[in-house]
C-alpha cells in the first residue's frame, strides 16, 4: 500500500513553491551563461520579411501599438527588429496606439532605431507618433475611416501641419498595417483588413499566434511569433539583440516544466497501478 509518506506521493504532490524557485533559476542562469542553441527561421517570419522587402521605398506603413507594458518583453524586441527593417527600406512609418501604454513604446522604438523621436529632423516627414486613441475597436474603426481624426500627436504637435499625414484619406492609403498586440488581431482584420483591404502583419505574442493563423496568409501576410519570432527577425535584419539572448533561457524553462510533468505522471501512474494489489 502506498502511504502518505511514500515517494510516489511526494512525486505527485510537489509544493508549487519548489516549482517556482526552480523555474526562476532555470531562466536566470542561462541569461548569465548562455549555451547558444541555434534558432531556425520559420515561414511566417520569412514571409513578413519578404513582404516588407517588396514594398516600394516611401510606402506608408502603420505600426499599431495595441500592446500593454506587460507584453513588452515579447513585443518590444519585435518592434525594434522590424522598425530597423522599415528604416533600412526607407518606408514611412505612422505609429498609432490603441492601448494607453503604446505611445511610450512607439517613442522608445523611434529613439532606439532613429536615435531621436520628436526632435529628429525627419519627424513628421518619415515617421510620426500619433499617440493613444481610447476606445478599442470603435477607435480603430474611426481611425480606419479617417486617419486625420486625430488632432494632435503624442507630443502635442498639430497633426494636420505634418507632411506625412497629407496624402491620407482613409486606411486604403496604408500599404501595410503592423499590428503589435498581445490581445487580438481579429479587431484589426474586421476594421482594417476586411473593409479597406489593408495587408496586415502581426507582431504578436506567442499566445496570439493560434488566433492569427486562421487569417494567414490571406489577410495576415506574415507574423512574428513572440520572442522567438523576434529572435528570428533579428537574424534576418542582421541585428542580434535581447531576443536571441533569451532563447536559451526559454529552452531551459521548457525542459524544466516538461520534466515536472513527467515526474508528476510517474508518481501518479505508479500509485494508480499499485492500488489494486
Amino acid at each position: 500500500m502506498a502511504t502518505e509518506k511514500d515517494w510516489t506521493h511526494k512525486l505527485a504532490t510537489i509544493d508549487p513553491r519548489v516549482i517556482f524557485l526552480l523555474l526562476l533559476i532555470s531562466v536566470a542562469a542561462p541569461l548569465l551563461m548562455p549555451f547558444g542553441l541555434p534558432v531556425g527561421i520559420s515561414p511566417p517570419t520569412t514571409s513578413t520579411f519578404k513582404f516588407i522587402e517588396g514594398l516600394p521605398s516611401g510606402s506608408l506603413v502603420v505600426s499599431a501599438f495595441d500592446m500593454s507594458a506587460a507584453v513588452a518583453p515579447e513585443c518590444y524586441p519585435q518592434v525594434a527588429a522590424f522598425t530597423t527593417h522599415l528604416k533600412n527600406k526607407n518606408l514611412k512609418i505612422i505609429e498609432v496606439a490603441f492601448d494607453s501604454a503604446g505611445p511610450m513604446f512607439a517613442d522608445q522604438a523611434l529613439r532606439d532605431v532613429f536615435g531621436a523621436s520628436k526632435d529628429h529632423p525627419l519627424y513628421g516627414k518619415n515617421f510620426i507618433n500619433l499617440g493613444y486613441i481610447a476606445g478599442g475597436e470603435a477607435a480603430m474603426k474611426t481611425f480606419a475611416g479617417n486617419p486625420k481624426v486625430i488632432q494632435k500627436d503624442f507630443y502635442g504637435k498639430d497633426v494636420k501641419d505634418l507632411e506625412i499625414m497629407q496624402p491620407l484619406s482613409s486606411a486604403r492609403d496604408f500599404k501595410l498595417l503592423i499590428v503589435i498586440s498581445g490581445s487580438q488581431v481579429d479587431n484589426f482584420v474586421r476594421q482594417f483588413g476586411d473593409p479597406h483591404g489593408v495587408p496586415i502583419v502581426g507582431a504578436v505574442t506567442a499566445v496570439l499566434v493560434t488566433r492569427v493563423m486562421p487569417y494567414y496568409p490571406a489577410k495576415v501576410v506574415g507574423y512574428l511569433n513572440g520572442l522567438r519570432g523576434a529572435a528570428e527577425y533579428e537574424q534576418l535584419v542582421k541585428r542580434p539583440g535581447i531576443a536571441l539572448a533569451g532563447m536559451d533561457a526559454q529552452s531551459a524553462a521548457h525542459l524544466l516544466v516538461i520534466i515536472f510533468i513527467i515526474v508528476g505522471n510517474v508518481g501518479y501512474i505508479v500509485r494508480k497501478t499499485r492500488r489494486p494489489s
Binding site: 488632432q151 482584420v189 506567442a206
Partner: protein, 236 residues
C-alpha cells in the same frame, strides 16, 4: 531633465517593486501587499489622466472651437453620475444603454461575418484531393473537427450513435486545441520572466538580489519555526 542619478534610482525602484511583487510567490505578505497597493494607485491614477486627456483633446477642444456635436456625449455621460443619487438612480441607464447599443452593435454585425460566415467559407475544403493523401487527411481532420466540435456543444439533447462519435471526435480536437494553445503560451510567459530577470541584472538593481535572497531565507526559517508541522503541499 532626468539625469544619471534619476536613472539609477529608477532602475533600483523598478527592481525593488519587481522583487516585492515576486515575494507573493512564497506567500501573500505585507511586502507584496504594499507593492499591490502602490500598483493599484499608480495604474488607476495614470488611467484617469489618460482618459481625461482623451476627453479634453477629442471632445472639449472641438466643442470650444464651435463643434456643438460634442456637447451630446459630454452632457449625456453626466447622467452616468446619477448612479450616486438615491432617487434618480435609474437615469444612469440612458447613457449606459447607448454605450451598450453601439458597443454590441459594432461587434455583433462584424463578428457574425468574421467569426461565422468567413470561417465557414475557409472550411469549404475538398474531402478528397487526388494523388495527395497528406492534404486529404488534413482536410478531413479540419472538416470533421469543425463539425464535431460544433455538434459537441449541441444543447437540445444528449447525442447518441454516429452523432455521438462525431461529437467525441470534436471533443478530442478541442483538447488538442487547448493543449496546443497552452503549449504555445508558455513561451510567451517565460519571455516575461526573462524580461524581469534581465532588468534585475542591471546595476544597481543587482544589489537587491542578495538582499532579497536573505529576506526570503529568513521568512522561510521563521515560518518553519512557527509551525513545525509539515506545510500544505500542492495548495489545497
Amino acid at each position: 531633465m532626468i539625469g544619471l542619478d534619476a536613472r539609477l534610482v529608477g532602475i533600483l525602484l523598478s527592481g525593488g517593486l519587481t522583487l516585492m511583487a515576486y515575494s507573493f510567490l512564497y506567500r501573500e505578505n505585507r511586502v507584496s501587499r504594499i507593492a499591490e497597493h502602490i500598483y493599484l494607485g499608480a495604474a488607476t491614477g495614470y488611467g484617469v489622466v489618460l482618459s481625461a486627456k482623451y476627453v479634453y483633446d477629442n471632445a472639449a477642444v472641438p466643442l470650444a472651437k464651435g463643434n456643438t456635436f460634442w456637447a451630446i456625449p459630454l452632457l449625456s455621460s453626466l447622467l452616468l453620475y446619477f448612479y450616486f443619487s438615491k432617487k434618480h438612480f435609474w437615469l444612469y441607464r440612458l447613457p449606459t444603454a447607448a454605450i451598450i447599443g453601439v458597443g454590441t452593435g459594432i461587434v455583433v454585425a462584424a463578428d457574425f461575418r468574421t467569426r461565422l460566415t468567413e470561417q465557414i467559407k475557409a472550411t469549404l475544403l475538398p474531402l478528397f484531393v487526388a494523388n495527395d493523401p497528406y492534404n486529404t487527411v488534413n482536410n478531413l481532420i479540419i472538416v470533421f473537427g469543425v463539425l464535431g466540435a460544433l455538434i459537441f456543444f449541441y444543447f437540445s439533447k444528449e447525442l447518441k450513435g454516429p452523432t455521438r462519435t462525431l461529437a467525441d471526435f470534436g471533443k478530442y480536437i478541442l483538447m488538442v486545441t487547448f493543449g496546443a494553445s497552452f503549449g504555445q503560451t508558455f513561451m510567451a510567459r517565460i519571455s516575461l520572466i526573462i524580461g524581469r530577470v534581465q532588468s534585475l541584472y542591471i546595476w544597481p538593481a543587482s544589489i537587491l538580489l542578495p538582499l532579497a535572497a536573505v529576506l526570503v531565507g529568513v521568512a522561510i526559517a521563521w515560518d518553519r519555526r512557527k509551525q513545525r508541522t509539515p506545510r500544505v503541499s500542492a495548495g489545497k
